[in-house]
């Protein structure tokens, strides 16, 4: 038993600052964590795929960004899923907040539409639900990749 524990502790490495930075970086920018751990190929694929899923869901399929809505507890899970994608979520959120600035109130229906189309999506679009699925999936996959970064950092995986 003792020899088994010793063997297991020999296989896993203690986490250093770089490893913690990889995990946080991997959340903030998809692929950055793997880049820190010198997994360049994986980092490139992750960056392209996760960002593609998220931005295609928002701009290509008219999906929306979720935030926790009062009276709709399920929205908290969707919001958490989307926040898993890291900085792309917050970039879109900040830009949409700047566009919806109350000092810059819309003068016409078209201005309201252009403001809402950015982060609130277009519920009338036939692709609206697909867009939400793509963006939430991007976030959840990025969260899943954090476990992969942890395993690589600990030496459990190459």
């Amino acid at each position: 038993m003792a020899s088994k524990n010793t063997a297991a502790s020999e296989k896993t490495k203690p986490l250093t600052f770089t490893h913690y930075a990889s995990i946080v970086g991997g959340w903030l920018v998809p692929g950055l964590g793997h880049l820190f751990l010198k997994k360049h190929g994986r980092a490139g694929i992750i960056f392209v795929v996760i960002n593609f899923l998220f931005f295609f869901g928002i701009f290509g399929l008219d999906g929306r960004l979720y935030s926790t809505e009062p009276g709709n507890p399920i929205s908290a899970f969707a919001a958490l899923g989307q926040k898993g994608v890291g900085s792309p979520y917050f970039i879109i959120k900040i830009i949409s907040m700047m566009k919806n600035d109350t000092n810059n109130s819309p003068q016409s229906y078209y201005e309201i539409e252009s403001q809402q189309a950015f982060a609130a999506g277009d519920p009338a679009s036939p692709y609206y639900e697909y867009g939400i699925t793509f963006t939430v999936s991007a976030g959840l996959l990025n969260l899943l990749l954090l476990f992969d970064i942890y395993d690589i950092a600990k030496g459990k995986k190459k």
Partner: protein, 60 residues
């Protein structure tokens, strides 16, 4: 741009398969093999389920 349900399903399956292959397997060759198997499984299972649901009446 207009997309069919099937086209969107292929795009989604490609993306999911790429990430799952990276997470679960080690080595480029093994990852690529798993990517193909996972992608084919996602599309194949979706087609089988759609075919099984075909006799059921739709609400439209």
């Amino acid at each position: 741009m207009k997309f069919s349900h099937f086209e969107l399903m292929i795009i989604f399956a490609l993306s999911i398969s790429a990430i799952i292959a990276i997470i679960t397997k080690e080595g480029t060759r093994e990852q690529f093999r798993y990517f193909l198997i996972f992608f084919a499984s996602l599309i194949g299972i979706a087609i089988v389920i759609a075919w099984l649901m075909y006799p059921f009446p739709s609400s439209h």
